[in-house]
Symmetry: C2
Subunit: 531 residues, 2 copies
């Protein structure tokens, strides 16, 4: 094993391996219930400050890096994470219970989004440079020279997510976006996958060193309970927070950030049941549609943020046929190991709560082997019950679907209007549905970050046009996305320089345009050769 | 007088004149202390819902307007406000105590920013359309067709500001930005200028009717105390808030927005002392610099958000000469009528608090005629005292300057490091200051929204590159600006359409590009003729 592949069980603070003295934890293999070595020593909340101080010290130099150098650094991070290969995948499999194929794909996605962010940084459009040249002869008053650019906020706290040990964790989407924006990152490792976190964290640390960057650009902290997260979000040097997890966890961070003497933005992705609207015309082949639905519902034990937890289905024979087919498939399905014992337990509790709220069981599969692989299930209810009982909208994280039967466009409209904010909504429609959809679609678009026509919401493309976000409570800030290149804007703010001499301007705004940026001049975007 | 020039003393809810039954108020002419007719009837907080319901009903149709139609509407608003001309200026003068010239300029600025926003809407870059075309043959998985656009958030609550009865009030910057983004607006009129608010509000209402828009696109509410504002921000149909005013008022709205079942963004511009850094090389002509300083400090009775409340000045003879000259000018200056009796009283209290905190009086001018025209003043202190006593950083709204003497770059750096977030900072430097400025400028840029080199911060250009915002507590959300065309982004969020047929896509994303937008295709901005 190379140096990156020996686990130390310690935090990494600005390049240094730091053991904590606030207890230890070991990962658990959810497939077997066995604990995994090594023991991870936990930092006390007061030790957070060492990482945030280093991040704050590193911030100006890292913010000032040229696009080429920052992009090269991001690519090295990608290369080093990629080089961990099977070692990383194997550890993540052991810690998460997710299959090798899924984690191999997730590793590719993680390195892919780092490399995509490198292209964004190189292009420099995300700096949004704007120039309003001086108008010294304007009357009654001359106009000064005004130059605007977006600058990094400063050190960002990132919380690893249990359901994506790679793509939404240590060097995942939030880290990639923050590093691309020019912000140092302090990661709080998720305690479900400390080993995967350490492997990736050391790869990032090595990339920081290889590029001669200040060590404080990256730290990875292990801690127990919620205290260390609260300490991190409350630290005065932290300027923004990225989080993917439960609604309770996200809201606690939002509250901590708002209670600071200087409040900061929190981008928390929290919960979504990703409604699927099946229109009458979408039921031309109920069995095929049911197969797609159950495939998406049970994918990865249903542990995707975009899992289709709620499906709106017409009453009548076609809808009955769909539900029967879906029930048959779910009934024949076997539970897969969930990420942690706690998550598996929460799934069982959530299913009971749904039944207690009056949802009718349609079908239940078979629990999988191992202690934490509960059975997938489908329940059904009516739009009237959905309206009357908000608890039917509670996310049950896992392979559990609630099918809501509607008998008119009015009922459908009411049900859509009652929905909370969501990451996605999916529409299955046919040619005859145009009239019925006309009032539904505008309403639906106010509720979600992404609308799919056909297909299923699981499987989130990492690209320029993706939105993985949405109105509260899907996220704490619907003006943003956590996936895709737009995410870089989360960690920026605009600054204007007025009548600044060239030598104090950042290169992005200098008259000679040394970075070759497209810039908005007097309101019109001009390419470098047009300036 | 035309119909727009007869004041009714009533709120305007979705085109209707609505009298309230929760008491009345009359404006006060601060120059004379006299009350002005008519009496304005105040709405009870429960009546807010009538306006927000109408706004929510109007939202989809207004959001769907073509760029051409929305721009035409904004231009009509500008035309109708402009047509109020001297009637509006005279009423605003009477209600604010500001001079005719100042308000004539402010009227031009108000209509100018509406027209500038119209050009932004027409161009359509603010929609930030992004297209990642389908890659059906990609392996291992095809890529779906992904199309992203920014959509309006929904109804926006705007709070009029006392110090800009036109440009930051009824049809001011936040209203222009929200209407440009496609959001209906509910304005809470500032009680200091109810007549100016009504004149402008009726002009907007007439423009709404002239363009055949749903009447709920605009409402203007009068209410007493803080309850109506709290009710407006807490209303579930409101999706964002724009506010310019005191720190206490802004923080109360932020708290109300955060306490909602569905929290919403608040853009509150709150307080700033706009530090001026005089470097040793900036003192080549102390008397001229002092004249510029005192001119900016006393402009409009010091009632600008960008008033230079704090000036960092070297110790030594050049600094002494500057302070002596500034003291002489302030000592010779006469107080101008402030906006309201309460604001004049707060100025006097603030000056006393500054003296109580140990600031030394340098010079005080003469109170002006009339009851609410306190004397301008300059105080001095040291960097050590500034560090030890945070209350010396408290904004005293009005023509009051605190000069902080520093004797080394280290002292300057420490003082800059101790500053809270600010709207602006201004640097006066000379050729010999390059080395000393090197560590100061990056630190300064982390504190402010705009850095000026030479000149004075009062006088905010309305343009594409302007930033009128800054880190907390200058604003509640430093990721934004309230002035300039970037402000349109405050009231938008991204939505992605996946595999959507053309007929359900908004025109901004349709394949034929009917609005002729520049769109980011596969990460690269392409002009209409290049798509």
């Amino acid at each position: 094993m190379t140096s990156t592949q020996t686990l130390t069980g310690s935090s990494i603070i600005a390049g240094e391996t730091v053991a904590g003295d606030a207890g230890t934890l070991r990962a658990i293999d959810p497939a077997t219930g066995e604990t995994l070595e090594p023991a991870y020593s936990l930092l006390a909340p007061a030790e957070v400050e060492r990482a945030t101080r280093a991040a704050a010290e590193a911030a100006p130099a890292y913010a000032a890096l040229s696009p080429a150098r920052r992009a090269a650094f991001l690519r090295t991070v990608a290369d080093r994470v990629e080089a961990l290969g099977e070692t990383l995948v194997a550890r993540a499999v052991a810690e998460s219970g997710l299959p090798v194929g899924r984690l191999t794909g997730e590793l590719g996605r993680t390195t892919g989004q780092l490399r995509l962010m490198a292209t964004v940084v190189e292009q420099g459009d995300h700096l949004q440079a704007r120039i309003d040249p001086a108008l010294p002869d304007r009357t009654p008053l001359p106009r000064p020279d005004l130059r605007q650019v977006h600058v990094p906020l400063g050190p960002v706290a990132v919380f690893g997510a249990s359901n994506f040990p790679l793509a939404f964790s240590t060097a995942g989407g939030d880290t990639a976006a923050a590093l691309a924006a020019g912000c140092p990152v302090v990661v709080k490792a998720h305690n479900a996958h400390p080993g995967a976190a350490e492997l990736v964290g050391r790869a990032v640390t090595e990339a920081v060193a290889e590029h001669g960057l200040p060590a404080g650009v990256f730290s990875l902290l292990y801690g127990g309970g919620n205290e260390i997260g609260q300490a991190l979000v409350s630290d005065p040097r932290i300027t923004a927070v990225g989080f993917t997890g439960s609604r309770g966890g996200g809201l606690a961070l939002v509250a901590a950030a708002a209670a600071r003497p200087v409040p900061i933005p929190v981008y928390a992705e929290m919960s979504s049941i990703n409604p699927v609207l099946v229109m009458p015309g979408g039921l031309s082949d109920p069995a095929a549609l049911a197969a797609g639905y159950v495939g998406s519902l049970t994918l990865g034990a249903g542990q995707f943020c975009t899992n289709p937890g709620l499906l709106l289905l017409p009453t009548g024979p076609d809808g009955d046929a769909f539900l029967a087919a879906a029930g048959e498939l779910v009934g024949a399905a076997t539970g897969q190991t969930m990420l942690t014992p706690g998550i598996a337990e929460a799934y069982r509790t959530g299913a009971q709560a749904l039944a207690a709220a009056g949802a009718e069981p349609v079908a239940e599969g078979t629990p999988g082997s191992g202690p934490h692989a509960p059975a997938p299930a489908v329940y059904a209810t009516t739009t009237a019950d959905l309206a009357a009982r908000p608890e039917l909208q509670a996310e049950v994280f896992g392979a559990l679907g609630l099918v809501v039967r509607y008998s008119s466009t009015d009922e459908l409209l009411t049900a859509v209007g009652d929905l909370e904010g969501q990451l996605t909504a999916t529409v299955h429609a046919g040619a005859g549905d145009t009239e019925a959809l006309a009032p539904v679609l505008p309403l639906l678009a106010t509720k979600v970050g992404r609308v799919l026509f056909g297909g299923w919401p699981t499987g989130v493309e990492v690209s320029h046009a993706m939105v993985h976000g949405g109105p509260f409570p899907a996220t704490s800030d619907g003006r943003s996305t956590s996936v895709g290149t737009l995410a870089v804007h989360r960690f920026q703010r605009p600054v204007c320089f007025q009548d600044a001499p060239d030598e104090v301007l950042p290169p992005s705004l200098q008259r000679a345009n040394p970075w070759g940026l497209s810039r908005r001049v007097d309101g019109v975007v001009r390419r470098p050769e047009e300036q």
